[in-house]
């Protein structure tokens, strides 16, 4: 049968990467006119069951978004050698699994540079969603980018929470932003799913700049969102669906070089990004692609040179 996608806890309308994954699948369906199967789990116990359910139904490939799928996928995949699986945000080594991971630290580094350049107070901030290594990876890349442009800048960092509800707490996002503003921040980067909506809203209300995440969120408050750190989960899903049953297995790293992550530039923020700033990040992108510039990945050793979490 056709391809299938399984979303993580939080569901496909989480305004974060589940939704992004859904968008990719939807785009594929619209373009090809074909159908795909999907499932939203509601508890961890359902993970392996869900994978098996689709595998037994003959769906191929089966895509799942979220790092939590690693363990159950590893257990289940071996039983279905003829089915190909795609996992996003985790690396699982098996002959029938394609693992897609993103270099979020690189994209975050770029927006960090822009933040530092745009800041007048030399203080910028970061609002993370759930406090997990992945989000710290965003924050750490961001801080490195800021420090690269302005070593004296202050980076304030806050995490919304430690449970999945942290992905969806715009009120707290707003409170955190207010508190960061009163500490002097004038650019805030939200890597917090639905929580980020509150962050961007507050930043707009208070007249400071904000940076969106995952998808291009510049349009949300035109002229007040400095840029967005786009992470193309949708592309990853779209590509997998498009490749069909013969999707290429193995590790697939999506970084700045292959436009898996990037900063966004469109009509909503063109006045905010000066040519100088643009030149600066383009150069950094090129250096990253060539390996000249290496951004520290928090997840490699769970430490960050630029900021304490």
């Amino acid at each position: 049968d056709g391809p299938a996608i399984i979303y993580d806890l939080g569901g496909k309308f989480d305004k974060s990467f589940n939704e992004s994954a859904y968008n990719g699948a939807q785009r594929w369906a619209e373009e090809t006119g074909e159908e795909f199967a999907e499932f939203e789990i509601t508890s961890d116990a359902q993970r392996e069951q869900a994978i098996r359910r689709f595998a037994e139904a003959g769906n191929n490939p089966i895509v799942m978004a979220g790092f939590s799928w690693g363990t159950p996928l590893e257990a289940a995949a071996a039983d279905y050698p003829d089915t190909n699986f795609v996992i996003i945000d985790a690396a699982v080594d098996a002959p029938n699994i394609r693992s897609v991971v993103f270099n979020e630290h690189e994209g975050s580094y770029l927006v960090g540079m822009l933040a530092a350049a745009a800041s007048e107070t030399d203080t910028v901030s970061f609002v993370g969603g759930m406090d997990i290594p992945l989000i710290r990876k965003f924050g750490c890349g961001y801080a490195q980018g800021v420090k690269a442009v302005n070593p004296d800048a202050t980076v304030i960092s806050n995490m919304t929470g430690t449970t999945p509800s942290a992905w969806n707490d715009p009120v707290k996002g707003s409170e955190l932003t207010l508190s960061q503003i009163s500490q002097g921040s004038d650019v805030v980067f939200a890597a917090a799913g639905g929580t980020g909506i509150g962050v961007l809203q507050t930043a707009a209300d208070e007249g400071i700049l904000s940076i969106g995440v995952d998808s291009n969120q510049n349009y949300l408050h035109s002229g007040q969102v400095l840029t967005s750190m786009v992470k193309r989960v949708d592309n990853a899903v779209y590509d997998a669906f498009a490749a069909g049953e013969n999707v290429e297995v193995g590790l697939n790293v999506m970084g700045v070089e292959n436009e898996g992550v990037a900063y966004s530039l469109d009509e909503h923020n063109e006045e905010l990004i000066t040519d100088e700033m643009k030149a600066m990040v383009e150069e950094a992108s090129a250096q990253m692609a060539s390996g000249e510039l290496e951004v520290h990945d928090y997840m490699s050793d769970e430490t960050c040179p630029a900021i304490d979490f």
Partner: protein, 386 residues
């Protein structure tokens, strides 16, 4: 902390206290009439959902508010049916209502909006927005520059949604109703001695239903406030146990309206702290002093009581001492030497900060803040024929 931070904290406390306060007063009316209501949570949640959904559809937050109040009253009536008419167990009825609301809101939201059990975000017009008083500054950065009075006026007094001001007004109103009207006298009596009310020719059933409906109205406003004023839309389980905290506040407040205001503001402060201060850093020595002092106080208390007190409180003290020592040893990684580690600062786990309101509820219930005597007939169905 500078003055402005204080003002901000106070401001946030008020905002966070309002849903607690409304729920607490709801509980107050209900319990004063002798009906325990642990279904406050469920009623708020249902109201939060319907208020958001109807606001969204109608584009008018007031219509949403009415809808929220409506569903909350409906649940109240179910509680009334179970606990007044059929003399069932009030705790169990409340638990059932909580589950019912938790499940049904998601099911209906999914069926209605197909967005994974939440409503879409409300546009500005479909919400209760802050009201800016004349002359008040609106931006944080402007307020930071202003003089203290302007800060206080702009941040603390001005800028809340209409529901906040209404919510605060319910406190004197409740007091007046309880202590200055015939209805209040009867309400207080029916929670203490329903048979006295009955033989005085007043219908216990009608009085209790009235109380339960008032509780429904207040919970309805509380829920609508959460989804249409604090947040812009409904999300699953968004009441986050405020209903239970309100009940604890009610006990803390000894079932009195003005005390309820104080108790809820205190809990509001906890929420404000949690929302605002992410990285609370403390020096190890202070953490250890605090933990050891608590352990010592508990042990001293237990020593003068019975064996069971010594076992439980002693065990708890041991845990606290262990945590203190673990923090210290953990800090030695960072600092050179045991003494230096004492002055190392460590981050208080955010989970602990988030747990503070709950921890405080337990302390309140433990009665270390004074003995509270609930209405005498509370929780028991009124049965005149066995």
């Amino acid at each position: 902390m500078d003055f402005f931070t204080f003002v901000q904290l106070g401001d946030a406390s008020v905002r966070m206290a309002i849903p607690l306060l409304l729920a607490c007063l709801a509980g107050l009316f209900s319990e004063r009439a002798g009906i325990f209501d642990i279904g406050l949570e469920g009623k708020m949640l249902a109201a939060a959902f319907l208020a958001a959904a109807v606001s969204l559809v109608s584009g008018n937050a007031w219509v949403g508010l009415l809808a929220g109040i409506g569903i909350s009253i409906a649940l109240s009536l179910i509680h009334g049916l179970a606990s007044i008419t059929f003399r069932g167990n009030q705790l169990i009825s409340g638990v059932a209502i909580n589950f019912f609301a938790a499940g049904l809101t998601v099911v209906v939201a999914q069926g209605w909006f197909a967005q994974g059990g939440r409503t879409p975000s409300l546009p500005k017009d479909a919400r209760f927005n802050g009201i800016d008083f004349p002359g008040a500054l609106t931006r944080v950065r402007d307020k930071m520059q202003a003089d203290p009075w302007a800060q206080f006026y702009s941040e603390f007094i001005s800028g809340h949604s209409i529901l906040v001001y209404l919510g605060l007004l319910t406190v004197p109103l409740s007091w007046w109703v309880l202590y200055r009207t015939r209805f209040g006298l009867r309400l207080r009596a029916v929670g203490e001695a329903p048979e006295a009310v009955d033989t005085a020719g007043i219908s216990v059933v009608r009085l209790r239903y009235t109380a339960v409906i008032i509780a429904g109205v207040l919970c309805g406003v509380a829920g609508a406030y959460l989804s249409t004023a604090v947040q812009a839309g409904f999300t699953k389980d968004m009441t986050a146990n405020r209903g239970f905290i309100a009940l604890a506040a009610l006990i803390f407040a000894k079932w009195r309206p003005w005390y309820a205001l104080g108790a809820c503001l205190l809990f509001g402060l906890f929420f404000a702290i949690d929302n605002r201060f992410q990285n609370i850093q403390l020096e190890v020595i202070w953490i250890m002093t605090g933990l050891f002092a608590a352990a010592a106080a508990m042990t001293l208390y237990a020593l003068r009581r019975e064996r069971i007190d010594l076992i439980v409180l002693g065990g708890l003290s041991a845990v606290l001492v262990f945590v203190g020592l673990a923090t210290w040893i953990g800090a030695m990684d960072e600092a050179i030497g045991a003494t230096a580690a004492l002055f190392e600062t460590v981050k208080v786990p955010s989970q602990l900060i988030q747990s503070l309101p709950y921890l405080f509820v337990v302390v309140v219930l433990a009665g270390f803040v004074g003995k509270a005597i609930p209405p005498r007939a509370g929780g028991q169905p009124y049965v005149k024929e066995r």
